[in-house]
Symmetry: D3
Subunit: 248 residues, 6 copies
């Protein structure tokens, strides 16, 4: 059940069944020669929607531009400053909390978001902790990176034993190819496996990783493997979300 | 051409042809008994994607949660504070500007966003105006509400002479039904045409408009009419965007 | 009754009679060759004080620097960034609200303020809407542009059928000439009626409108006509304010 | 020369003669049983306008609501949070600086503003100091409290040897009575001289100083003495401003 | 009793005895040719720890970087913007207040902090004053500059009748020499007594005061005199803190 | 070489040799029944000072209050909101950068700081990345947690094979006991090894971990083992810092 494709009455009925919501959170940033700029927003969205077919999971709007300053050297990449993203997440949480949501599961597609998501959690909790007598609500925030779900990492390692990499991974490109087959790109890349390393700001990143990839050979991606990853991940997600939603 | 479904090289190539980008901007808020919570984000997205089929328009990510505090009395509605939305738009503009975009066309689906979008424009321009010797760039921001495009308002008035209304309009529901036929809802509404009036905060809104509609009878919406509206609007959009993009 | 010329006991007594206050809000920005930099702050102040002679209206301090980044190309113009103006309005409202004011009528003299005033309203209301159980108070904010008062627009169109314009209007100059006859300027302007059009930042504005006027011939302004406008506007204001104050 | 009663061309001409501007800054807060809520904004405005009659001083708009949280226990008092006031002063300075003003003389009427004005100066200077190679401009900010001008303090002590006090001083009330004789109030006060002491927040202030005065007997104020104070202060101001304006 | 060298149980026990805490607040900024960059943070820390040996005073963490933009022309100087320091102090107060502390004594070592500390106090109090019905707590904030403690100023004037100065004072250097004898520097300075005057931003300060000192001859400092100052100041502090802590 | 115990001339001389600085960053928060509230600030400070005895490392001021909202249920704990900490780190970096520092090594003692430190890095880099043509400087920020230094983790695991835990670790308590032997506490704890688990806000933390410890038995800590840890860590730090400082 996707929030933006539901009526408010349907959400109200869902709230009678559950106090938990899933929010896909990603990024809009370069994904090398054959990956889509929206990859990190699309992956959690695709997996969450797949999981929600069989399970009673409410999938909220996707936070589609995240923290990606280091990618700004490549056309089309966009970023929020971390302080802006904290404000955005504060407002989303405040909106959801006043409807009665008490479990907000942030399903993340971008490693560069992790620090700021956790900082935003601490910002939300700080308000509560500053006055310890917070009434009634039992708000809980959880971050889950889709590639860290139990069994997903193993599965990806198995299907891409070489060249999975850490940015523009073969897996994430495969997931998007499964969902958007009309956007599959065939591109020669050289070197076949991109270099690995650290990065700082956008200028530095571009200097280190000229085509945007880190450590990966995403030319291995195919919609068929993408489908398998989505299925493995959706099953793991459903279980993880349910445990979070049902935890008292 | 949708940015999040493109590679950075494709966007780089686009920038050789044009310095203009379209950004759909909407809201996630109740749309009465038969409208979708995502209506205001979906409508500009749907129309923009339709227009981009035939025209060389780069459609950026959708800013999907806007200023909708007055809808928070209905489950699922979400809002940014205006100050947060200004920060978000500042960051999106800064990201796009450094890639060389100089025409940012905000294609809006939500009346409640208008004031804050214009305030954000003034915030962006203030930075430039505080130091009048801004170098090189010729940044221009434009707001267009899809229902205000030339010929669209007339068309909607023609197909819905009664009960178009001002929130949960028959037209906007029709647009989403065209694009998401599997989410068409058949709901009895009473009164058939909702009351009209003003509103303040969420509590007040809910008191005035118990099912969320203002002045409308959205049960008239159909995917067939939605298709016609999308076609009219997409043609008008293509022309308006082109004029903006080509203006020197 | 002007707040800044009253004692706190007089305001306390007023609060026993009414929960409504009028706040003039304007701008400090160029008004062409014969208009005063303070025009947009002075006009609502002049009209409000005129109305308050015969009616029990409490006129608060004037917010005299508003959103006018586009005028910074002309000496003496000043601006707040929209985000600053939102903070200011939040603090003014919080101050007034804790005294028991529940109707704050922002009487505006500057078109460029409208978007930010409305954004500030939404910021104020957001705080209330985020926690729907707001206690006791029935806070209402209202924006009224003096030139949009019923009958004022018609009257101005009648006395200035040509060259009223949209910035440095003949009407607003006339209002200030009535109140400040010692500051009447006689200046030749060329062209007699200024060009019309849109504008972005300060550099662009100055390029489009070299002497600052948009679409107007303010040399028509006279203190006699100003007096008439003030009287028409003050009567309309008194009625509009009373309706707002008395609305339950 | 008052900025808001001048045209932009007149300010431009002034800038050819001088790079200095005076900005009255005050507060809107209770001034006891016979003082006006606007006293602290009116006093610097009155004195500055008096000085500007004979001297070439450009008097900017008055910043009329300052830092007065401690007065919120009395009806009509208003405040900015210090952080808001810093933002406002940043924007006013940025506006004036880009016109070429390099000497901004803040002429203050409220003791409670002093700390925040100085903090705002440090905020402005911090931006410059963070990058030591600031180009071209020689921006200088100066705070002057009107009652601290050379000779003013002595004069006030002479005319009010007893009961000048520190809030609702006999002097400041006299200054406003001179300028606004129609607002002179005759009120019995008890005790004749108010208590002295410290204060914290609004609740505490009201408890300590039930009618708002601190250490003063403002019933001594008269328009005649007010006139004398204004003349002494205006002469001192003209000299002090000139020294600041001419300092290289 | 130093908070950072105590356990939470020890602080809990202290709260049973007292609701008062001392927070040293200083700066990290150049102190001329023979003074330490940490002087202004070290002095209140040294004196407070000395006082706490014999008295039941809880000494909190030292806020060690303050408002020192004007010193940024000298290597090693650091600053917060005033707006940042206000946020920091808001958070420290909120933390302490929720533990039950109601008397926070800010023991300051840097003149440049005074304005911002007072602005921060007003920011804290504003929150309370905006809603006058603040529950239960009796929060009080106090600023004390160590060199302004009763008897300290006289003592310093006696031991350094010439060349005490206003920045890099002989006294403050002596205090640090007493506590950190291994960091005593013997440096020739010329002129022996530094010039006096005002300053604005970092570039201006460096131009006026080439070695960083203002009006002082800190070569007179010795650990022996430092010891005496610390003893005088610690005794005065203990008394002042006790009066604040015990005031009801 | 400790910055706050140096003169500006000494720092200037250091800058001729190196562009790198180490900044200890910690927290002020409960550390169970026998750990000090300052543990997380003291540990990096102690180790850094130890390393700086033999190596040319400039140790800046300690950022001693970090992100610890979850500990506010225990007396004496303090926190910054993450957004405040980002502002603080922005100002510290801006200060250091303008002196010419280009390698800032944040030596951290608190796991709860990690996310916000990384978010602050992204905030700093965002400013650079928004305008890709940043001049001259080669700013690099690095986070190192002392317990993650090569060989330290192994050493701690060896000396405390059981009950090292994750909060109030035996190792961190030992480090402070070595440096502050007069503050060694002997406390009975029950259970001997504290429970493990996750936490959210302060109320939740206190409920899960009644005496503050997580998974640890810090009664094993001794100054002798603390000394060994400090020596191992200081050697590892010296090497790691040197590599960072010398990297081109």
């Amino acid at each position: 059940m996707r929030l933006h494709l539901s009526t408010w009455q349907e959400v109200e009925a869902y709230l009678d069944r559950s106090r938990a919501i899933l929010v896909p959170i990603g990024s809009t940033e370069q994904h090398g020669p054959n990956g889509l700029l929206g990859t990190d927003a699309l992956c959690p969205e695709i997996i969450a929607e797949h999981a929600a077919k069989d399970e009673d999971i409410l999938v909220g709007p996707t936070l589609n531009v995240g923290c990606a300053q280091h990618h700004l050297g490549f056309a089309g990449s966009m970023t929020l400053r971390p302080s802006t993203m904290i404000s955005v997440m504060m407002d989303w949480v405040a909106s959801l909390e006043q409807h009665g949501f008490e479990r907000i599961y942030w399903f993340n597609g971008h490693g560069g978001n992790v620090a700021t998501i956790e900082a935003a959690f601490a910002e939300v909790y700080s308000k509560r902790s500053f006055s310890l007598s917070h009434p009634n609500s039992d708000l809980r925030l959880r971050l889950q990176n889709w590639w860290r779900l139990p069994s997903v990492a193993e599965f990806c390692a198995k299907v891409f034993p070489i060249g999975e990499g850490s940015h523009v991974t073969a897996s994430e490109v495969a997931v998007t190819y499964f969902a958007y087959p009309e956007h599959i790109k065939r591109v020669e890349m050289s070197p076949k496996i991109a270099p690995s390393g650290e990065f700082r700001d956008a200028e530095h990143y571009r200097g280190q990783f000229p085509d945007g990839r880190i450590g990966s050979d995403p030319s291995q991606a195919s919609p068929e493997i993408g489908k398998q990853i989505v299925e493995v991940a959706a099953a793991a997600l459903a279980k993880d979300f349910r445990a979070f939603a049902d935890d008292i």
